[in-house]
Protein backbone atom coordinates (compact mmCIF):
# COMPACT_ATOMS: atom_id res chain seq x y z
CA UNK A 1 0.00 0.00 0.00
CA UNK A 2 2.75 2.44 0.97
CA UNK A 3 4.63 1.56 -2.22
CA UNK A 4 1.63 2.52 -4.33
CA UNK A 5 1.28 5.75 -2.37
CA UNK A 6 4.84 6.89 -2.98
CA UNK A 7 4.47 6.06 -6.64
CA UNK A 8 1.39 8.20 -7.10
CA UNK A 9 2.93 11.17 -5.25
CA UNK A 10 5.90 10.95 -7.61
CA UNK A 11 3.59 11.01 -10.64
CA UNK A 12 1.42 13.92 -9.56
CA UNK A 13 2.57 17.26 -10.97
CA UNK A 14 4.82 15.62 -13.56
CA UNK A 15 4.30 16.38 -17.23
CA UNK A 16 3.01 13.52 -19.35
CA UNK A 17 4.38 12.87 -22.80
CA UNK A 18 3.37 10.23 -25.35
CA UNK A 19 6.09 7.56 -25.48
CA UNK A 20 8.09 8.00 -28.71
CA UNK A 21 7.46 5.54 -31.57
CA UNK A 22 11.18 4.67 -31.72
CA UNK A 23 12.43 4.12 -28.19
CA UNK A 24 16.17 4.60 -28.67
CA UNK A 25 16.99 8.30 -28.94
CA UNK A 26 20.15 7.87 -31.07
CA UNK A 27 18.25 5.75 -33.57
CA UNK A 28 15.37 8.21 -33.69
CA UNK A 29 17.56 11.24 -34.38
CA UNK A 30 19.92 9.21 -36.57
CA UNK A 31 17.08 8.23 -38.89
CA UNK A 32 15.85 11.81 -39.06
CA UNK A 33 19.32 13.17 -39.86
CA UNK A 34 19.88 10.45 -42.47
CA UNK A 35 16.62 11.34 -44.15
CA UNK A 36 17.45 15.05 -44.31
CA UNK A 37 20.97 14.37 -45.67
CA UNK A 38 19.54 12.02 -48.30
CA UNK A 39 16.98 14.63 -49.33
CA UNK A 40 19.65 17.34 -49.76
CA UNK A 41 21.95 14.96 -51.66
CA UNK A 42 19.11 13.92 -53.94
CA UNK A 43 18.28 17.52 -54.78
CA UNK A 44 21.91 18.24 -55.58
CA UNK A 45 21.97 15.48 -58.22
CA UNK A 46 19.10 17.01 -60.18
CA UNK A 47 20.67 18.43 -63.31
CA UNK A 48 18.54 20.92 -65.19
CA UNK A 49 19.55 22.45 -68.49
CA UNK A 50 17.86 25.82 -68.06
CA UNK A 51 18.43 27.01 -71.60
CA UNK A 52 16.71 23.84 -72.87
CA UNK A 53 13.84 24.50 -70.54
CA UNK A 54 13.56 28.02 -71.91
CA UNK A 55 13.28 26.70 -75.47
CA UNK A 56 10.88 24.00 -74.43
CA UNK A 57 8.56 26.44 -72.72
CA UNK A 58 7.49 27.71 -76.15
CA UNK A 59 6.46 24.21 -77.28
CA UNK A 60 4.71 23.63 -73.95
CA UNK A 61 2.83 26.87 -74.44
CA UNK A 62 1.61 25.79 -77.88
CA UNK A 63 0.42 22.49 -76.42
CA UNK A 64 -1.45 24.21 -73.62
CA UNK A 65 -2.89 26.82 -75.96
CA UNK A 66 -4.22 24.05 -78.17
CA UNK A 67 -6.64 23.24 -75.37
CA UNK A 68 -8.30 26.60 -75.87
CA UNK A 69 -8.88 25.67 -79.48
CA UNK A 70 -9.39 21.88 -79.67
CA UNK A 71 -10.10 20.45 -83.09
CA UNK A 72 -12.78 17.79 -82.87
CA UNK A 73 -13.76 17.90 -86.55
CA UNK A 74 -10.86 17.46 -88.97
CA UNK A 75 -9.95 13.97 -87.63
CA UNK A 76 -13.39 13.17 -86.27
CA UNK A 77 -13.69 9.76 -87.92
CA UNK A 78 -10.26 8.70 -86.53
CA UNK A 79 -11.18 9.95 -83.08
CA UNK A 80 -14.56 8.23 -83.23
CA UNK A 81 -13.22 4.84 -84.31
CA UNK A 82 -10.35 5.06 -81.80
CA UNK A 83 -12.79 5.90 -79.03
CA UNK A 84 -15.09 2.99 -79.90
CA UNK A 85 -12.08 0.67 -79.96
CA UNK A 86 -10.97 1.93 -76.54
CA UNK A 87 -14.41 1.48 -75.04
CA UNK A 88 -14.73 -2.03 -76.43
CA UNK A 89 -11.29 -2.88 -75.05
CA UNK A 90 -12.18 -1.41 -71.68
CA UNK A 91 -15.49 -3.22 -71.29
CA UNK A 92 -14.25 -6.57 -72.59
CA UNK A 93 -11.05 -6.55 -70.54
CA UNK A 94 -12.87 -5.46 -67.39
CA UNK A 95 -15.47 -8.22 -67.71
CA UNK A 96 -12.86 -10.89 -68.37
CA UNK A 97 -10.51 -9.51 -65.71
CA UNK A 98 -13.20 -9.41 -63.02
CA UNK A 99 -14.48 -12.88 -63.90
CA UNK A 100 -11.02 -14.40 -63.60
CA UNK A 101 -9.97 -12.41 -60.54
CA UNK A 102 -12.85 -13.52 -58.31
CA UNK A 103 -11.79 -17.19 -58.05
CA UNK A 104 -8.15 -16.12 -57.74
CA UNK A 105 -9.09 -13.74 -54.92
CA UNK A 106 -10.86 -16.58 -53.09
CA UNK A 107 -7.73 -18.69 -53.46
CA UNK A 108 -5.50 -15.85 -52.31
CA UNK A 109 -7.36 -15.24 -49.04
CA UNK A 110 -5.52 -17.06 -46.28
CA UNK A 111 -8.64 -17.52 -44.14
CA UNK A 112 -10.40 -19.44 -46.93
CA UNK A 113 -7.83 -21.26 -49.00
CA UNK A 114 -5.47 -24.05 -47.99
CA UNK A 115 -1.78 -23.13 -48.11
CA UNK A 116 -0.85 -24.62 -51.55
CA UNK A 117 -3.78 -22.91 -53.29
CA UNK A 118 -2.95 -19.71 -51.45
CA UNK A 119 0.67 -19.77 -52.64
CA UNK A 120 -0.30 -20.44 -56.26
CA UNK A 121 -2.89 -17.66 -56.33
CA UNK A 122 -0.56 -15.21 -54.60
CA UNK A 123 2.14 -15.98 -57.19
CA UNK A 124 -0.29 -15.29 -60.02
CA UNK A 125 -1.11 -11.96 -58.41
CA UNK A 126 2.56 -11.17 -57.88
CA UNK A 127 3.39 -11.87 -61.53
CA UNK A 128 0.48 -9.82 -62.76
CA UNK A 129 1.42 -6.90 -60.55
CA UNK A 130 5.15 -7.05 -61.20
CA UNK A 131 4.78 -6.70 -64.97
CA UNK A 132 3.83 -3.17 -65.87
CA UNK A 133 1.10 -2.74 -68.50
CA UNK A 134 3.42 -1.22 -71.10
CA UNK A 135 5.86 -4.12 -70.86
CA UNK A 136 3.07 -6.68 -71.18
CA UNK A 137 1.61 -4.72 -74.08
CA UNK A 138 4.93 -4.66 -75.94
CA UNK A 139 5.25 -8.43 -75.49
CA UNK A 140 1.68 -9.10 -76.60
CA UNK A 141 1.95 -6.76 -79.58
CA UNK A 142 5.03 -8.74 -80.58
CA UNK A 143 3.01 -11.96 -80.35
CA UNK A 144 -0.42 -10.92 -81.67
CA UNK A 145 0.57 -7.99 -83.86
CA UNK A 146 -0.69 -4.41 -83.75
CA UNK A 147 -4.28 -3.82 -82.75
CA UNK A 148 -6.79 -3.94 -79.94
CA UNK A 149 -6.49 -7.69 -79.26
CA UNK A 150 -3.09 -7.14 -77.64
CA UNK A 151 -4.51 -4.22 -75.67
CA UNK A 152 -7.48 -6.24 -74.50
CA UNK A 153 -5.27 -9.09 -73.28
CA UNK A 154 -2.91 -6.67 -71.54
CA UNK A 155 -5.69 -4.95 -69.66
CA UNK A 156 -7.34 -8.24 -68.65
CA UNK A 157 -4.02 -9.48 -67.30
CA UNK A 158 -3.40 -6.29 -65.38
CA UNK A 159 -6.95 -6.27 -63.96
CA UNK A 160 -6.41 -9.71 -62.46
CA UNK A 161 -3.49 -8.62 -60.32
CA UNK A 162 -5.20 -5.48 -59.14
CA UNK A 163 -8.65 -6.88 -58.34
CA UNK A 164 -7.55 -10.22 -56.91
CA UNK A 165 -5.13 -8.62 -54.49
CA UNK A 166 -7.51 -6.02 -53.14
CA UNK A 167 -10.48 -8.38 -53.04
CA UNK A 168 -8.44 -11.06 -51.28
CA UNK A 169 -7.46 -8.52 -48.65
CA UNK A 170 -11.10 -7.65 -48.12
CA UNK A 171 -11.99 -11.32 -47.76
CA UNK A 172 -9.22 -11.73 -45.21
CA UNK A 173 -10.60 -8.92 -43.10
CA UNK A 174 -14.23 -10.09 -43.19
CA UNK A 175 -16.20 -10.92 -40.05
CA UNK A 176 -15.32 -14.53 -39.29
CA UNK A 177 -18.33 -15.20 -37.07
CA UNK A 178 -20.91 -14.47 -39.76
CA UNK A 179 -19.22 -16.98 -42.03
CA UNK A 180 -18.91 -19.44 -39.15
CA UNK A 181 -22.65 -19.30 -38.56
CA UNK A 182 -23.27 -20.37 -42.15
CA UNK A 183 -20.78 -23.19 -41.81
CA UNK A 184 -22.48 -24.40 -38.63
CA UNK A 185 -25.71 -24.98 -40.54
CA UNK A 186 -24.09 -27.74 -42.58
CA UNK A 187 -23.59 -25.69 -45.74
CA UNK A 188 -21.20 -26.99 -48.37
CA UNK A 189 -18.18 -24.89 -49.33
CA UNK A 190 -19.77 -23.18 -52.33
CA UNK A 191 -22.87 -22.32 -50.32
CA UNK A 192 -20.69 -21.04 -47.53
CA UNK A 193 -18.91 -18.69 -49.94
CA UNK A 194 -22.22 -17.59 -51.46
CA UNK A 195 -23.96 -16.90 -48.13
CA UNK A 196 -21.20 -16.25 -45.64
CA UNK A 197 -18.48 -14.52 -47.66
CA UNK A 198 -19.98 -12.93 -50.75
CA UNK A 199 -22.47 -10.61 -49.00
CA UNK A 200 -19.67 -9.26 -46.84
CA UNK A 201 -17.32 -8.39 -49.69
CA UNK A 202 -19.87 -7.36 -52.33
CA UNK A 203 -19.68 -3.57 -51.78
CA UNK A 204 -15.91 -3.69 -52.05
CA UNK A 205 -16.05 -5.88 -55.16
CA UNK A 206 -18.42 -3.48 -56.89
CA UNK A 207 -16.40 -0.43 -55.89
CA UNK A 208 -13.15 -1.99 -57.06
CA UNK A 209 -14.69 -3.16 -60.33
CA UNK A 210 -15.89 0.31 -61.24
CA UNK A 211 -12.54 1.74 -60.29
CA UNK A 212 -10.85 -0.85 -62.50
CA UNK A 213 -13.09 0.06 -65.46
CA UNK A 214 -11.90 3.61 -64.94
CA UNK A 215 -8.24 2.55 -64.86
CA UNK A 216 -8.66 0.30 -67.90
CA UNK A 217 -10.08 3.17 -69.91
CA UNK A 218 -7.20 5.45 -69.01
CA UNK A 219 -4.67 2.70 -69.71
CA UNK A 220 -6.26 2.05 -73.10
CA UNK A 221 -5.23 5.58 -74.04
CA UNK A 222 -1.61 4.79 -73.13
CA UNK A 223 -1.41 1.35 -74.72
CA UNK A 224 -1.98 2.84 -78.16
CA UNK A 225 1.50 4.37 -77.85
CA UNK A 226 3.04 0.90 -78.15
CA UNK A 227 0.64 -0.20 -80.87
CA UNK A 228 -1.94 -2.01 -78.80
CA UNK A 229 -4.91 -0.22 -80.36
CA UNK A 230 -7.51 2.12 -78.95
CA UNK A 231 -7.68 5.90 -78.74
CA UNK A 232 -3.99 5.92 -77.77
CA UNK A 233 -3.05 5.07 -81.34
CA UNK A 234 -5.01 8.07 -82.63
CA UNK A 235 -3.47 10.25 -79.93
CA UNK A 236 0.02 9.07 -80.83
CA UNK A 237 -0.52 9.82 -84.51
CA UNK A 238 -1.70 13.34 -83.77
CA UNK A 239 1.35 13.98 -81.59
CA UNK A 240 3.63 12.68 -84.35
CA UNK A 241 2.04 15.13 -86.79
CA UNK A 242 2.30 18.02 -84.27
CA UNK A 243 -1.50 18.31 -84.46
CA UNK A 244 -1.79 19.54 -80.91
CA UNK A 245 -5.35 20.77 -81.46
CA UNK A 246 -6.52 17.26 -82.36
CA UNK A 247 -4.52 15.81 -79.45
CA UNK A 248 -6.16 18.34 -77.16
CA UNK A 249 -9.57 17.28 -78.41
CA UNK A 250 -8.78 13.63 -77.67
CA UNK A 251 -7.45 14.44 -74.21
CA UNK A 252 -10.54 16.49 -73.43
CA UNK A 253 -12.75 13.58 -74.43
CA UNK A 254 -10.71 11.22 -72.21
CA UNK A 255 -10.98 13.64 -69.29
CA UNK A 256 -14.72 13.92 -69.86
CA UNK A 257 -15.22 10.16 -69.88
CA UNK A 258 -13.06 9.62 -66.79
CA UNK A 259 -15.00 12.30 -64.96
CA UNK A 260 -18.28 10.67 -65.98
CA UNK A 261 -17.03 7.30 -64.73
CA UNK A 262 -15.93 8.92 -61.49
CA UNK A 263 -19.39 10.37 -61.02
CA UNK A 264 -21.10 7.06 -61.82
CA UNK A 265 -18.85 5.16 -59.43
CA UNK A 266 -19.69 7.63 -56.67
CA UNK A 267 -23.41 7.15 -57.23
CA UNK A 268 -23.16 3.36 -57.40
CA UNK A 269 -20.98 3.08 -54.32
CA UNK A 270 -23.38 5.22 -52.33
CA UNK A 271 -26.20 2.88 -53.35
CA UNK A 272 -24.48 -0.39 -52.43
CA UNK A 273 -23.65 0.02 -48.77
Amino acid sequence: MSAADTEITMLIGKRWKKPPFIQRAWLRYGLLAGFVIYLIAAFLTIDVNWSRVYEGLERGKQFVLAFTNPDFTSRSSDIWSGMIESIVMTVASSVVGIAISIPIALGAARNIAPLPVYLICRSIIAISRALQEIIVAILLVAIFGFGPLAGFLTLSFASIGFLSKLLAEDIESMDRVQAEAIKASGARWTQWVNYGVQPQVMPRLIGLSIYRVDINFRESAILGLVGAGGIGATLNTSFDRYEYDTAAAILLIIIGIVMALEYISGVVRARVQ
Partner: protein, 264 residues
Protein backbone atom coordinates in the same frame (compact mmCIF):
# COMPACT_ATOMS: atom_id res chain seq x y z
CA UNK B 1 -28.63 -38.19 -26.60
CA UNK B 2 -25.37 -36.23 -26.58
CA UNK B 3 -22.40 -37.85 -24.95
CA UNK B 4 -18.99 -36.28 -24.52
CA UNK B 5 -16.24 -38.61 -23.45
CA UNK B 6 -12.95 -37.20 -22.18
CA UNK B 7 -13.17 -34.33 -24.63
CA UNK B 8 -9.88 -32.44 -24.65
CA UNK B 9 -8.78 -29.41 -26.59
CA UNK B 10 -5.27 -28.05 -26.54
CA UNK B 11 -4.68 -25.00 -28.71
CA UNK B 12 -1.51 -24.56 -30.74
CA UNK B 13 -0.36 -21.98 -28.22
CA UNK B 14 -0.33 -24.74 -25.59
CA UNK B 15 -3.41 -23.48 -23.76
CA UNK B 16 -5.49 -26.37 -22.57
CA UNK B 17 -9.04 -25.13 -23.03
CA UNK B 18 -10.77 -28.42 -22.17
CA UNK B 19 -9.44 -31.09 -19.86
CA UNK B 20 -11.11 -34.45 -20.43
CA UNK B 21 -14.68 -33.23 -20.14
CA UNK B 22 -17.17 -36.06 -19.82
CA UNK B 23 -20.83 -35.21 -20.05
CA UNK B 24 -24.09 -36.96 -20.81
CA UNK B 25 -27.14 -35.02 -21.91
CA UNK B 26 -30.47 -36.82 -22.18
CA UNK B 27 -33.13 -36.07 -24.77
CA UNK B 28 -34.88 -32.73 -24.25
CA UNK B 29 -32.72 -31.44 -21.41
CA UNK B 30 -31.83 -27.76 -21.30
CA UNK B 31 -28.51 -27.25 -19.67
CA UNK B 32 -26.65 -24.09 -18.74
CA UNK B 33 -22.90 -23.93 -18.92
CA UNK B 34 -21.48 -21.34 -16.56
CA UNK B 35 -17.97 -20.36 -15.68
CA UNK B 36 -15.54 -17.43 -15.82
CA UNK B 37 -14.28 -16.02 -19.11
CA UNK B 38 -11.69 -18.31 -20.59
CA UNK B 39 -13.03 -21.39 -18.79
CA UNK B 40 -13.59 -23.11 -22.14
CA UNK B 41 -17.35 -22.69 -22.49
CA UNK B 42 -17.20 -21.49 -26.08
CA UNK B 43 -14.60 -24.08 -26.98
CA UNK B 44 -16.75 -26.85 -25.55
CA UNK B 45 -19.72 -25.85 -27.68
CA UNK B 46 -17.60 -25.44 -30.79
CA UNK B 47 -15.95 -28.81 -30.27
CA UNK B 48 -19.36 -30.45 -30.46
CA UNK B 49 -20.21 -29.22 -33.96
CA UNK B 50 -16.51 -29.10 -34.79
CA UNK B 51 -16.18 -25.46 -35.64
CA UNK B 52 -13.16 -26.20 -33.44
CA UNK B 53 -11.60 -29.62 -33.79
CA UNK B 54 -11.07 -31.33 -30.44
CA UNK B 55 -7.59 -32.70 -29.73
CA UNK B 56 -8.83 -35.97 -28.28
CA UNK B 57 -11.93 -37.61 -26.85
CA UNK B 58 -15.20 -38.44 -28.53
CA UNK B 59 -18.58 -36.81 -29.08
CA UNK B 60 -21.62 -38.99 -29.73
CA UNK B 61 -24.80 -37.43 -31.07
CA UNK B 62 -27.30 -40.25 -30.84
CA UNK B 63 -25.40 -43.17 -32.33
CA UNK B 64 -23.09 -41.12 -34.52
CA UNK B 65 -19.55 -40.39 -33.43
CA UNK B 66 -18.77 -36.83 -34.57
CA UNK B 67 -15.04 -36.43 -34.08
CA UNK B 68 -14.07 -38.95 -36.75
CA UNK B 69 -16.49 -37.85 -39.46
CA UNK B 70 -15.48 -37.00 -43.00
CA UNK B 71 -16.40 -33.51 -44.22
CA UNK B 72 -19.58 -34.66 -45.95
CA UNK B 73 -20.61 -36.73 -42.94
CA UNK B 74 -19.92 -33.78 -40.71
CA UNK B 75 -22.12 -31.54 -42.85
CA UNK B 76 -24.94 -34.05 -42.53
CA UNK B 77 -24.60 -34.13 -38.73
CA UNK B 78 -24.28 -30.35 -38.41
CA UNK B 79 -27.82 -30.11 -39.73
CA UNK B 80 -28.96 -31.79 -36.53
CA UNK B 81 -27.21 -29.20 -34.36
CA UNK B 82 -28.62 -25.69 -34.48
CA UNK B 83 -26.29 -23.00 -33.22
CA UNK B 84 -27.20 -19.64 -31.73
CA UNK B 85 -24.37 -17.15 -31.43
CA UNK B 86 -23.13 -14.41 -29.21
CA UNK B 87 -23.67 -11.08 -31.02
CA UNK B 88 -26.16 -12.93 -33.25
CA UNK B 89 -23.75 -13.63 -36.15
CA UNK B 90 -26.38 -12.88 -38.76
CA UNK B 91 -25.03 -12.16 -42.21
CA UNK B 92 -25.71 -8.46 -41.99
CA UNK B 93 -26.11 -7.66 -45.66
CA UNK B 94 -28.61 -10.44 -46.29
CA UNK B 95 -32.32 -10.09 -45.59
CA UNK B 96 -33.98 -11.60 -42.55
CA UNK B 97 -35.53 -14.27 -44.77
CA UNK B 98 -32.21 -15.18 -46.37
CA UNK B 99 -30.67 -15.44 -42.94
CA UNK B 100 -33.40 -17.77 -41.73
CA UNK B 101 -33.29 -19.85 -44.90
CA UNK B 102 -29.52 -20.17 -44.61
CA UNK B 103 -30.36 -22.67 -41.87
CA UNK B 104 -31.59 -24.94 -44.67
CA UNK B 105 -28.33 -24.86 -46.63
CA UNK B 106 -27.42 -28.31 -45.44
CA UNK B 107 -30.59 -29.68 -47.04
CA UNK B 108 -30.71 -27.95 -50.43
CA UNK B 109 -28.33 -28.08 -53.38
CA UNK B 110 -26.01 -25.27 -54.41
CA UNK B 111 -27.99 -23.92 -57.36
CA UNK B 112 -31.26 -23.80 -55.44
CA UNK B 113 -29.62 -21.84 -52.66
CA UNK B 114 -27.66 -19.66 -55.10
CA UNK B 115 -30.85 -18.68 -56.93
CA UNK B 116 -32.69 -18.35 -53.59
CA UNK B 117 -35.25 -20.89 -54.83
CA UNK B 118 -35.85 -22.80 -51.62
CA UNK B 119 -38.57 -25.48 -51.52
CA UNK B 120 -41.98 -24.04 -50.64
CA UNK B 121 -42.06 -26.09 -47.43
CA UNK B 122 -38.85 -24.36 -46.25
CA UNK B 123 -40.23 -20.92 -47.01
CA UNK B 124 -43.48 -21.76 -45.21
CA UNK B 125 -41.59 -23.03 -42.21
CA UNK B 126 -39.43 -19.88 -42.19
CA UNK B 127 -42.56 -17.72 -42.10
CA UNK B 128 -44.07 -19.88 -39.35
CA UNK B 129 -40.93 -19.51 -37.24
CA UNK B 130 -40.64 -15.78 -37.87
CA UNK B 131 -44.28 -15.44 -36.90
CA UNK B 132 -43.65 -17.47 -33.75
CA UNK B 133 -40.98 -14.96 -32.66
CA UNK B 134 -43.06 -12.02 -33.84
CA UNK B 135 -40.98 -10.96 -36.83
CA UNK B 136 -42.96 -12.20 -39.85
CA UNK B 137 -43.45 -8.62 -41.06
CA UNK B 138 -39.67 -8.08 -41.06
CA UNK B 139 -38.88 -10.87 -43.53
CA UNK B 140 -37.60 -8.60 -46.29
CA UNK B 141 -35.71 -6.18 -44.06
CA UNK B 142 -31.94 -6.37 -44.10
CA UNK B 143 -30.54 -7.97 -40.97
CA UNK B 144 -28.52 -4.90 -40.02
CA UNK B 145 -31.70 -2.83 -39.74
CA UNK B 146 -32.88 -4.88 -36.76
CA UNK B 147 -32.36 -4.22 -33.06
CA UNK B 148 -30.30 -6.59 -30.95
CA UNK B 149 -33.23 -8.53 -29.56
CA UNK B 150 -34.80 -8.87 -33.00
CA UNK B 151 -31.54 -10.09 -34.48
CA UNK B 152 -31.17 -12.75 -31.84
CA UNK B 153 -34.72 -13.91 -32.60
CA UNK B 154 -33.78 -14.26 -36.25
CA UNK B 155 -30.72 -16.20 -35.08
CA UNK B 156 -33.05 -18.52 -33.16
CA UNK B 157 -35.22 -19.05 -36.26
CA UNK B 158 -32.11 -19.84 -38.31
CA UNK B 159 -31.11 -22.50 -35.82
CA UNK B 160 -34.58 -24.01 -35.54
CA UNK B 161 -35.30 -24.23 -39.26
CA UNK B 162 -32.51 -26.79 -39.44
CA UNK B 163 -34.92 -29.03 -37.58
CA UNK B 164 -32.19 -29.90 -35.10
CA UNK B 165 -32.15 -32.40 -32.28
CA UNK B 166 -29.82 -30.24 -30.26
CA UNK B 167 -29.29 -26.52 -29.82
CA UNK B 168 -25.84 -25.13 -29.12
CA UNK B 169 -26.28 -21.68 -27.67
CA UNK B 170 -23.25 -19.45 -27.14
CA UNK B 171 -23.87 -16.47 -24.85
CA UNK B 172 -27.28 -15.63 -26.33
CA UNK B 173 -27.83 -12.64 -24.07
CA UNK B 174 -24.43 -10.96 -24.06
CA UNK B 175 -24.90 -7.39 -25.31
CA UNK B 176 -28.67 -7.45 -24.71
CA UNK B 177 -30.41 -5.39 -22.04
CA UNK B 178 -31.76 -7.27 -18.96
CA UNK B 179 -35.37 -7.37 -20.12
CA UNK B 180 -34.56 -8.52 -23.64
CA UNK B 181 -32.11 -11.05 -22.19
CA UNK B 182 -34.89 -12.66 -20.20
CA UNK B 183 -37.25 -12.63 -23.15
CA UNK B 184 -34.65 -14.32 -25.32
CA UNK B 185 -33.83 -16.93 -22.67
CA UNK B 186 -37.51 -17.60 -22.10
CA UNK B 187 -38.09 -17.93 -25.84
CA UNK B 188 -35.22 -20.37 -26.27
CA UNK B 189 -36.41 -22.50 -23.35
CA UNK B 190 -40.03 -22.44 -24.49
CA UNK B 191 -39.09 -23.49 -27.99
CA UNK B 192 -36.92 -26.29 -26.63
CA UNK B 193 -39.84 -27.54 -24.58
CA UNK B 194 -42.27 -27.27 -27.51
CA UNK B 195 -39.99 -29.21 -29.79
CA UNK B 196 -38.39 -31.53 -27.26
CA UNK B 197 -34.91 -30.21 -28.01
CA UNK B 198 -31.89 -30.62 -25.86
CA UNK B 199 -29.83 -27.47 -25.48
CA UNK B 200 -26.49 -26.39 -24.11
CA UNK B 201 -26.57 -22.72 -23.20
CA UNK B 202 -23.34 -20.90 -22.42
CA UNK B 203 -24.18 -18.05 -20.16
CA UNK B 204 -22.40 -15.47 -18.05
CA UNK B 205 -25.41 -14.45 -16.03
CA UNK B 206 -25.78 -16.99 -13.24
CA UNK B 207 -29.09 -15.60 -12.03
CA UNK B 208 -30.57 -15.79 -15.50
CA UNK B 209 -29.39 -19.36 -15.90
CA UNK B 210 -30.95 -20.39 -12.60
CA UNK B 211 -34.23 -18.90 -13.66
CA UNK B 212 -34.67 -21.00 -16.78
CA UNK B 213 -32.74 -24.26 -16.87
CA UNK B 214 -33.03 -27.69 -15.29
CA UNK B 215 -29.37 -28.42 -14.96
CA UNK B 216 -26.22 -26.35 -14.53
CA UNK B 217 -22.66 -27.29 -15.37
CA UNK B 218 -19.92 -25.16 -13.86
CA UNK B 219 -16.69 -25.05 -15.82
CA UNK B 220 -13.39 -23.78 -14.45
CA UNK B 221 -10.09 -23.97 -16.31
CA UNK B 222 -11.60 -26.42 -18.78
CA UNK B 223 -12.80 -28.92 -16.19
CA UNK B 224 -16.27 -29.61 -14.81
CA UNK B 225 -16.48 -28.26 -11.24
CA UNK B 226 -20.20 -28.50 -10.69
CA UNK B 227 -22.99 -30.55 -12.20
CA UNK B 228 -26.41 -30.33 -10.65
CA UNK B 229 -29.74 -28.56 -10.42
CA UNK B 230 -29.81 -24.74 -10.30
CA UNK B 231 -30.77 -24.79 -6.60
CA UNK B 232 -27.44 -26.45 -5.88
CA UNK B 233 -25.54 -23.27 -6.74
CA UNK B 234 -24.64 -22.20 -3.22
CA UNK B 235 -22.12 -19.46 -2.43
CA UNK B 236 -19.53 -22.19 -1.81
CA UNK B 237 -20.13 -23.72 -5.21
CA UNK B 238 -19.92 -20.36 -6.95
CA UNK B 239 -16.67 -19.70 -5.14
CA UNK B 240 -15.19 -22.93 -6.47
CA UNK B 241 -16.25 -21.99 -10.00
CA UNK B 242 -15.49 -18.29 -10.10
CA UNK B 243 -13.28 -17.63 -7.08
CA UNK B 244 -13.82 -15.73 -3.86
CA UNK B 245 -16.59 -13.11 -3.94
CA UNK B 246 -19.70 -12.24 -1.95
CA UNK B 247 -22.33 -14.40 -3.62
CA UNK B 248 -25.30 -13.77 -1.32
CA UNK B 249 -26.46 -10.82 -3.39
CA UNK B 250 -26.45 -12.82 -6.64
CA UNK B 251 -28.48 -15.63 -5.18
CA UNK B 252 -30.93 -13.38 -3.35
CA UNK B 253 -31.46 -11.43 -6.53
CA UNK B 254 -32.54 -14.64 -8.22
CA UNK B 255 -35.30 -15.20 -5.74
CA UNK B 256 -36.53 -11.62 -6.14
CA UNK B 257 -36.47 -12.02 -9.88
CA UNK B 258 -38.55 -15.14 -9.73
CA UNK B 259 -41.23 -13.40 -7.74
CA UNK B 260 -41.23 -10.59 -10.20
CA UNK B 261 -41.58 -12.93 -13.17
CA UNK B 262 -44.49 -14.69 -11.59
CA UNK B 263 -46.11 -11.36 -10.82
CA UNK B 264 -45.97 -10.29 -14.45
Amino acid sequence: MLRLNKLTKTYKTGDQALKAVTLDIPEGQVLALIGPSGAGKSTLIRCINRLVDPTSGTVHLGDVELTGLSSSGLRRERRRMGMIFQEYALVERLTVMENVLSGRLGYVGFWRSFLRRFPQSDVDEAFRLLDRVGLAHMADKRADELSGGQRQRVGICRALIQNPALLLVDEPTASLDPKTSRQIMRLICELCRERGLAAIINIHDVALAQMFVQRVIGLRFGAVEFDGPPEGLTPDVLTTIYGEEDWEATIEKVEDDEDEVEAQ
